[in-house]
Amino acid sequence: MTTQLPPGLQLEKLNERIMTLNVGPQHPGSGHMRLIIKVDGDYIVSCDPDPGYVHRGEEKMAEYRNYIQNIPHLERPVIHDSCNVLYPYCLGVEELLGVEVPERAQYLRVIASELNRCVYIQYWLAIYGIFLGHSTMFMWPAGDRELLIDLLEKMTGARVTHAYFVPGGIRNDVPANFEDMCLKRVNYFEKRIKEYAAIFYDNPILISRTSGAGVLSRDDAIRLGTTGSTLRASGVDFDLRKKEPYDVYGELDVHSNVLKEGDSYARSKIPWLDMLESCNIIRQALQKMPKSGSVRVKLKPNPKGGNDEVYKRVESGRGSLGCYIVSRSKPEPYRVKMSVGSFRNLICMPYLLKGEKLGNMPAVYWSLNYWPVEADR
């Protein structure tokens, strides 16, 4: 039996200075994925990301369940950003079925989605901190995240997997004193995350280590199709909440955060600025929200879409998250395809890591705002 060596190992055979490192899946510095890295001394010669370890076939599963049954499993790829993951699906199904969502439900959707964005970014930031060896930055966001998780539990009934958005509105109304509670928590949360600047973002060692690491220029960012915080850190003002407002985002004053540097430091700072902006949006939404009213349009049992197809996208924690639904006049969708920010950002990783030092690998890798499970779906 002749075994053909994979291309990476052939390179190692050719040049004995080059060493192959398998970063993942059993490595503390990788997610549920593998990076095949070749190093020459301390410099990375090439990087080959190998996702697919947590592929669960969510899109195929969606073809065997009707529009309502799809809700709980479609949020599984990113359970700590579950509202935002369901958002484009719900928007798409509503358009297919021709449903108009009540205004109060739209505002509550915005609040839930912004809270969930903060929860996601806190989780992401915790891991970014521990990847850089900063253990306090692991504990603080992981602890402060609980504030919003408790709030979301009161709102939706579940701590992490909310399944809150349904086609036609939201699953249930919020408790009576929710607005005061939410305002109080969000104000405290904002005060708390502003303290992160002192210990993390203004830390001279952090700045010396991450600024200038993995610079992605504006043109490259557009050419490689990146999205979300990676794109905005490279100086492209692309925030779907502002560019293509969905639900009531058009009525709110949304500021999109843009930095020009395009390095690892800028990419790590954008989500933090986004959290501050989310607090702002939540306060606006709480003010403008109608105090009472219906939150859900009752659908027919087993609703059928027409012979139609629809594409909707929202700004998730990792960037633009699109959902393409094809309907063939049946209770089940013919095809559901999700276009996720994680996979788009993963594509630029080999370009960024080539020629970098090995010590920059975690800083660049996690700053791309990439969640392996979402990329695999």
Binding site: M19, L21, H27, P28, G29, D42, G129, I130, F131, L132, G133, H134, S135, T136, M137, F138, M139, W140, G143, I199, F200, N203, I205, L206, S208, R209, K357, L358, G359, N360, M361, P362
Partner: protein, 434 residues
């Protein structure tokens, strides 16, 4: 703030302690003493005081006689064996290292708004370290199939041994409380430190694995490039004292600590010991997210435990060296209460019995006071060494080498010029004003 486990009752805690005491006393009285008595009947006993044959009862009273016990204890305390194993040597260092681990965990937990070790030992998790040690001992030791086994086995032991050798050079109190008081003590310290990179590289290489290899190379770079500022930064003190003997260096700081005159040297030395100890922000050889656990990746079970013990003993030794060189060693105001004179003169009266205790005190007041100040200062330095772990992220290797080769070496030369200036101006040194 104190945190106590939810189901904790102080009475339960007392009861468990008293239970243990009860069983120990009971078993000793019912089994131990009869056993000794029975054995002693079959042993031919020597004659004491000319006319009296020692019987079992007399044997016990002789052993318990303070006039015999105190000289025995004194001879043990002043023996070399005690010095090497227990007091200024390894046992003392290991005890302080254990305290360091506990302080590190609790302090870091408070910094990060969490509780830290909590349940083990019921009060503040004080027995957590013991639990961890038991876990490490009971774990299987796995050795990579292609490892160079003798070197791989020897590396953790050598690491601890080198750390212990380092400890033996540190003077703890006046009156010769040091294991090895040699005239070139400071040179000997640097000779011992020079072994650490060798052991690290040997263990990393012998594991025959990629991540330990990278970690070992990183450790070699880091230790070698920070040893130079480490040595240069203490040169100022050697110039001013005119001695390499650590005890003499401490004695020279009777009135002024060297940190007052040589603050730059102290800062350089402190940063260099952070790098030598592989502590955050210089923990590159163990950078978790890049190279798993660096050169410790393949160690398992108690081999890993030994390396950790060695690194904490090393931490104590470096902190103690900082105290000896810059913070005046054991010097401090006398706060230890003197041993009561009347006990030495009259003995202790308990009802009808008067116990005469000739030869007390076992340790003189000066020595105990010295040790107290030494431990306080050392723990202070250790605390400052631990603190960056909660504040800084890990640095990158090129920035690390840049700091070592450019900034710290430059600063340590500035420090040497300050020392020379003080010497030639006649302020300090032999025949100086101060």
């Amino acid at each position: 703030m104190s945190a106590i486990a939810p189901k904790f009752r102080f009475s339960y805690f007392l009861k468990s302690v008293l239970d243990n005491v009860f069983w120990i006393v009971t078993l000793f009285t019912l089994i131990g003493i009869p056993l000794v008595m029975i054995l002693l009947f079959y042993i031919e006993l020597p004659v004491i005081n000319g006319n009296k044959l020692l019987d079992p009862y007399l044997a016990l009273t002789t052993l318990a006689d303070p006039s015999r016990q105190i000289p025995m204890l004194k001879s043990i305390i002043h023996s070399d064996f005690f010095r090497i194993t227990a007091f200024p040597g390894f046992g003392f260092a290991a005890l302080l290292a254990a305290a360091t681990i506990f302080i590190e965990r609790k302090m870091l937990a408070k910094l990060q708004l969490r509780v830290g070790p909590f349940y083990c030992g019921k009060v503040e998790g004080i027995l957590q370290l013991m639990g961890d040690g038991l876990k490490l001992i009971s774990k299987e030791i796995i050795i990579p199939a292609k490892a160079d086994k003798p070197i791989f086995w020897a590396a953790p032991v050598l690491f601890v041994a080198t750390a212990a050798a380092f400890v033996s050079l540190i003077p703890v109190a006046s009156g010769g409380w040091v294991v090895a008081d040699i005239d070139v003590g400071l040179l000997a310290v640097f000779a011992v430190i020079g072994f650490f990179p060798v052991i690290t590289v040997l263990s990393a290489w012998s594991a025959n694995s990629k991540f330990p290899f990278i970690g070992g190379i990183r450790a070699l770079h880091q230790m070698v490039s920070f040893e130079i500022p480490l040595i240069l930064s203490v040169l100022g003190i050697v110039i001013l004292t005119g001695s390499l003997n650590l005890t003499e260096i401490v004695q020279s700081q009777d009135h002024y600590w060297w940190i007052v005159f040589l603050p730059i040297g102290a800062i350089v030395f402190f940063i260099a010991i952070l790098a030598e100890l592989e502590r955050i922000p210089f923990d590159l050889p163990e950078a978790e997210s890049e190279i798993v656990a660096g050169w410790l990746t393949e160690f398992s079970g108690m081999m890993y435990g030994l390396v950790q013990l060695g690194s904490y003993v090393k931490l104590y030794a470096f902190a103690a060296l900082f105290v000896v060189l810059f913070l005046g060693g054991w010097h401090g105001p006398m706060v230890w209460p003197p041993f009561p004179e009347e006990i030495i003169q009259n003995g202790i009266s308990m009802g009808p019995i008067t116990l005469h205790l000739p030869g007390l005190p076992l340790l003189d007041q000066q020595m105990l006071n010295d040790v107290l100040w030494f431990v306080i200062k050392t723990m202070g330095v250790i605390f400052v060494i631990l603190l960056p772990r909660g504040v800084f992220p890990r640095i990158r290797i090129d920035l690390l080498l840049h700091i070592g080769w450019y900034k710290l070496i430059g600063l340590s030369f500035v420090n040497i010029f300050i020392a020379l200036g003080l010497l030639y101006a006649g302020v300090l040194g032999p025949g100086g004003i101060l």
